[in-house]
């Protein structure tokens, strides 16, 4: 059994490619069923977001799993394989598991530490589970991944600090004001960047927005977005007296706010005044920052915050990478243990069959045994079986986690002569899965050919 990831993301494919490989919510269920019905694929989950499209599959053979995953993409999106093959990445087994853990932790995202991807992977897994395209391996793997993702976001600060300039301004504002609910924002100039910053403040709870612009009509247009007030530039001083946060982005070549202008306004204030100057050339004279209770930041300062936050996220990512390696090892151990389970079950069943046969023989030879005597005999013969099996089972579990796993399992099968028993089980499983496939009414498999339709 192998785990495989076939996909593309923002690092390997441009948006023109990514948009062609997006699964719509409506078609996802059908796509999952179609993929699962491909030859060699036993379990599958499809993660499709604006930045990535990934097929997670469990297959019996790696090369066929990879081949049929690509065949599925080719057929589903009706795009020749040669056109997208160079954009695909293939990750196998341990690397695939590690990749999934990196994805849920936000380490593989465009913005490191983003939290949205965790919800998207969770939703993809739940859809696959509802479509019954997941089994023992993916049920375990995705649950482990989602738990890890939650832990990363609650126990680290990887996703907590702003990494965009406009949001950094809001975050900085929180260092001055506990809440923006009763705060007044004065937007000087109706530039795009200023408008975006004001939008972030408005979304963060600011209730009063005053927009000042040389052209009043433009101010009115922008103010309407925030149910705000539009004023002409002549009302600047009056507006500043009401302000808690000032966002300035005019096209002026000279500073419009100087220390002399600000000083009388500040003397009347009791709370901090936060000034954001995102204009180039700057609108506010840098000496204003020297005034008590006034905090002035320009575009470079905001970039500085973003850089500091990215460094902070990188530091947290180092911590998360250690967790991911640990979780990957833990999953691999579980997976290896999973291969031992059928052998142990087979050995137990065989031993118990011997015990039952022996009991039947005893009962035939000693017909006068009472019910109590039979119970005692049954209990003790079972106890002999269990005691004899205990050590071999413990040893094989230990060996399964070592590099000599395959040889050890083969030897185990040979020593206890389990070949026949395992073959019987495999036939039973195949019969069960073919019944399931028929029940899904799949024409491709009925014909013995693979055909994929969108």
């Amino acid at each position: 059994m192998h785990t495989l990831v076939v996909g593309l993301n923002h690092k390997t494919a441009k948006v023109e490619i990514r948009e062609k490989f997006a699964f719509s919510d409506r078609d996802l269920s059908l796509a999952l069923r179609t993929l699962r019905d491909m030859k060699s694929i036993l379990e599958c989950v499809i993660v499709s977001t604006c930045n990535r499209m990934e097929l997670y599959v469990v297959c019996d053979q790696l090369h066929t799993g990879e081949y049929y995953s690509k065949a599925f993409l080719e057929s589903w999106f009706r795009i020749p394989r040669e056109e997208f093959e160079s954009n695909l990445y293939i990750k196998e087994n341990e690397t695939a598991v590690n990749h999934l853990f990196q994805v849920v932790a936000g380490l593989d995202s465009l913005v490191i530490g983003e939290t949205q991807i965790l919800g998207q992977v969770r939703s993809a897994f739940l859809t696959a589970q509802a479509e019954k395209t997941t089994g023992t391996i993916f049920n375990m793997l995705f649950k482990q991944a989602i738990t890890l993702g939650k832990r990363v976001h609650t126990e680290t600060e990887i996703g907590q600090n702003a990494v965009s300039v406009s949001y950094a301004a809001v975050e900085l504002g929180k260092k001055m004001f506990e809440s923006f609910r009763d705060k007044t924002i004065v937007l000087i100039g109706a530039g795009e960047m200023g408008e975006l910053t004001a939008k972030h403040f408005y979304a963060a709870g600011a209730t009063k927005v005053i927009v000042l612009n040389r052209t009043l009509a433009k101010a009115v247009e922008v103010a309407q977005q925030f149910q705000g007030i539009a004023r002409s530039m002549e009302q600047l001083c009056e507006s500043l007296q009401e302000a808690d946060i000032v966002v300035s982005s005019t096209g002026s070549t000279k500073p419009i706010l100087t220390k002399e202008v600000m000083e009388p306004i500040i003397n009347k204030r009791r709370s901090p005044l936060f000034l954001i100057d995102i204009a180039v050339p700057r609108d506010i004279d840098s000496s204003v920052h020297e005034l008590d209770q006034v905090f002035l930041y320009d575009i470079d300062d905001l970039h500085g915050i973003v850089d500091a936050n990215i460094t902070l996220r990188e530091q947290e990512a180092q911590k998360v990478r250690v967790w991911i390696d640990k979780e990957t090892r833990s999953f691999q151990e579980w997976l290896q243990m999973l291969g031992v389970v059928p052998l142990i079950t087979a050995l137990r069943e065989k031993s118990l069959a011997v015990q039952e046969e022996t009991m039947a023989r005893i009962e035939r030879k000693l017909p006068d045994l009472t019910e109590r005597e039979k119970r005692v005999l049954r209990k003790h013969t079972k106890s002999i079986v269990n005691q004899l099996l205990r050590d071999p089972i413990v040893r094989i579990k230990e060996l399964a986690a070592t590099s000599q796993r395959d040889e050890a399992l083969d030897l185990f099968v040979q020593i206890f002569s389990l070949e026949e028993h395992i073959q019987e089980k495999e036939i039973e499983q195949k019969a069960a899965s073919s019944t399931l496939i028929k029940s899904l009414n799949n024409p491709a498999l009925v014909d013995g050919k693979v055909s994929v339709t969108s």
């Binding site: 126990e155 260092k175 506990e178 709370s271 209770q293 300062d301 915050i305 500091a308 936050n309």
Partner: protein, 272 residues
């Protein structure tokens, strides 16, 4: 005596562990340390409250003496727990408040071996108990207010110097620190005033004119004057920002001086 004092030892170890985890969380933010620190602090509060109740109902041996420092520490823990529960991002404030709380409790543990008979008498009288309780509450308010003012100065410095680091991100907002420091002075001042009036009444009854010879009376008046000044400047002269925060932080010296005077034998107000 040894067997009875283990309770205090246990308390101090718990408090130290809580501070240790809190410090670890400040350096390397992690949920486990934060939870452990909060859990241990709650346990400290329960133990302190239990000892307090047992002492009120005279259920513990007289060897375990209570004094103003123990009450001060208990009040600090109570305040910080309430603030921690009600407000987010107050980790630094809680940490510094508990450093003071722990220091005071440790002084109480290692030095509070015998109380003066006057002090015990005072504590056991109704009027005296109210006087001491109110005075302690006012000192707690002033201490917390000064911590907020100190944190305001740090935050103000980092924001002015544009130093973007983990420490800045963990500090509460400037307006919250301002509000806390102002209102805690506003609460503390009338409490101290009432405590002083009650104290005057009590001591006049007990020792008459000699009362004015005690240095502690003068240092308590100094605390009242200093914090009264801070309050006056804020309300009347609309002092604000850095200047008010500096005054508020410096005002903590008057409390420290008061504690120092109380601890010497030159005053009959022995805190321990």
């Amino acid at each position: 005596m040894f067997a009875e004092r283990w309770l205090f030892d246990f308390l101090i170890y718990l408090y130290a562990l809580s501070l240790l985890f809190s410090f670890s969380d400040l350096l390397y933010p992690n949920l486990r340390s934060r939870r452990l620190s909060a859990g241990l602090l709650i346990t400290v509060w329960f133990c302190q409250s239990l000892l307090f109740i047992l002492w009120i109902f005279s259920l513990i041996p007289i060897a375990l003496q209570f004094d103003a420092l123990f009450m001060y520490s208990w009040a600090l823990v109570t305040f910080t727990l309430v603030i921690q529960r009600l407000y987010q991002r107050m980790d630094l404030f809680v940490f510094f408040a508990n450093v003071i709380g722990f220091t005071v409790l440790a002084i109480h543990l290692f030095f509070a071996r015998d109380l003066s008979p006057e002090y015990t008498k005072l504590l056991l009288s109704e009027l005296g108990f109210v006087h001491i309780s109110l005075a302690i509450l006012s000192y707690v308010s002033f201490s917390l207010s000064s911590i907020c003012a100190g944190l305001y100065l740090i935050s103000n410095y980092l924001l002015k110097k544009k130093k973007w680091n983990k420490f800045l991100f963990r500090l509460p907002s400037l307006d919250r620190l301002q509000v806390f420091s102002r209102y805690l002075v506003l609460i503390g001042t009338p409490l101290l005033l009432i405590a002083m009036i009650l104290g005057v009444i009590w001591y006049y009854q007990m020792i008459g004119q000699l009362f004015w010879n005690d240095v502690k009376v003068w240092t308590s008046s100094l605390v009242m004057i200093v914090y009264g000044f801070v309050l006056y400047q804020w309300v009347v002269n609309r002092w604000n920002g850095r200047r008010l925060a500096w005054w508020n932080t410096i005002a903590l010296v008057s409390i420290l001086l008061n504690v120092l005077i109380s601890s010497t034998r030159i005053s009959f107000h022995h805190w321990f």
